[in-house]
Assembly symmetry: C2
Homo-oligomer: 322 residues x 2
């Protein structure tokens, strides 16, 4: 088992290799459009629907790349991670497809639906207290006991290379893109997008969208160094985590700009997407449309790829229904 | 302007002509799958997502075929229909695309969202009382005043031919289908499906799914003649209308069987589809999955196309949130 620091930064060759490796396990997700949203924004928007992936999120790409890139010897010990969200589901799914064990350290306060999904895919949950110290302590114990390969949710170079396959597909599906925009949390999707587009379509602008209430990537980008927030509160719960060294490498080098959206703007954009595209997507996917609506001058007249990152929503608790 | 009785029943050649005619105005909608739903049903399900069509429903196919098949002379007078649902939106959309007037007679009690959508597409609404007599009287006046071409929501042969383009695409997108299933209301989609599949894939079984509480097609099918219900009450509000002579022609000749589902089964299947496929679809689309779950012996081991007919839902009033 290797530390992340021992793994070199991924190159575009790693993205190509990842794409071949994960193809049997992921979907080539469709790209949807809405004339209504185009008329409203003055842009041509192309929504890449990663919410349709098997575990409901783009994170299956990076997770499958890590799992299926292990040697037989490495794979025997299984994989492990800490996550209360889509990475936990995705790594469990990938491990199930390979037939190896997967252990996920989750805070005991994580939503039951996410725990159920991990178990559905055959993952083993080890609960910790909802604090960084408890998580680290618990995770260290898991790794020591199992010898499992640690797959970090976004800072792992194998994960970044896997996420880079998404914009590789998008670039094949939509001709003449001017820009791509994705939400930013830890920066795994944005880093993969940077890696791919800077190689195959370097003229395409790359934008990141973030909740105002968890704007650590925005502030990092403006400051020129990583700023990490302590426990930000936002409805976009997939976007609370901070950048790390590997994702910062790509964000700081290749991102054109980062914009933020308020909680209400995120909810409005989420509901509008459900109405107009007829898709179920998480609040964490809504900042891109929210910032396109908010900054029309940046996007007007442009062909813009919008990455819809996931669809694991609690349908009993929708943010616009009080 | 012609009466429906003057128009001959459509043939598969009409479907092919319709497909070419409407191609610039509709989407070739994607087919989605879910391993979870396949595991649950023991079948391989292929969901044809007509909820992604521009006005959010398959009815755009038939409406565009009628509108774009008019001669210049006929088109000058515009089109008209009576509908409180997706046909009203779709005909308005089609007329807007051709740049001709569209008048829709709607009960004054129709949902404001549907009225707004008709107006968004440039349609003109004439309100009537929510009774058949008021509707017929109002509609006759509209036709007399405008000379508009009447496009019936489902009994019109041009509409049936247009709906037949959906299963033509499905048959290209999915190899080796054993069955196709769609909801049945007036029977426009099922008739188009029968027309197409009986010509290009006659071994494919065609099933219709209907709410128990609006089971007039089911009872017609068993009785061997049309039975029309008076104002059935069901959450699947697109499926309340009765069969008419042209749709009965296809249903009675080509449908393999009709199954029904209770209101709760419809709601459960609707919610399950939202969760698993990550799509927004109407309650009227849910009977097919409900009856597949209820009659596993019919579908197990089969490759089944499922037509998802529309996605125009009031997101503030979801049936599983009380």
């Amino acid at each position: 088992m290797k530390d992340i620091a021992e793994r070199p930064l991924p190159t575009y060759d790693d993205v190509v290799a990842a794409h071949e490796r994960i193809a049997p396990h992921i979907k080539r997700t469709p790209v949807l459009t809405s004339q209504y949203l185009n008329d409203l924004t003055g842009a041509e928007l192309f929504f890449k629907c990663e919410n349709f992936q098997p575990p409901g999120a783009f994170k299956v790409r990076g997770a499958c790349n890590a799992v299926f890139g292990l040697s037989e010897e490495e794979a025997k010990h299984g994989v492990a991670t800490h996550s209360s969200g889509n990475h936990a589901l995705s790594l469990s799914y990938a491990a199930m497809r390979r037939g190896i064990p997967c252990t996920v350290v989750m805070p005991r306060t994580a939503p039951q639906a996410k725990k159920d999904a991990v178990i559905y895919y055959g993952g083993k949950i080890i609960e910790c207290e909802p604090s960084t110290s408890s998580r680290e302590e618990t995770f260290a114990k898991v790794q020591e006991e199992t010898g499992a390969d640690f797959v970090h949710p976004y800072n792992d170079p194998r994960v970044i290379a896997g996420q880079g396959t998404c914009s590789r597909e998008l670039n094949e599906q939509v001709e003449g893109l001017d820009a791509v925009i994705a939400p930013i949390g830890g920066g795994g999707m944005i880093s993969g997008t940077c890696l791919t587009m800077s190689t195959i379509a370097p003229d395409v602008a790359i934008y990141a969208a973030e909740p105002e209430q968890a704007d650590d990537a925005y502030r990092s980008f403006k400051a020129g160094h990583i700023i990490a927030d302590d426990a930000p509160v936002t409805i976009a719960d997939g976007l609370k985590v901070p950048l790390k060294e590997n994702t910062w490498h790509f964000v700081s080098q290749f991102v054109t700009d980062i914009y933020t959206a308020s909680e209400q703007e995120i909810i409005d954009a989420m509901k509008m997407t459900w109405y107009r595209l007829k898709i179920v997507m998480e609040a964490s996917c809504a900042p891109p449309l929210a910032v396109i609506l908010k900054n029309p001058e940046t996007f007007r007249g442009k062909r813009v790829g919008v990455i819809v990152t996931g669809g694991n929503v609690d349908l009993d608790k929708l943010p616009w229904i009080k």
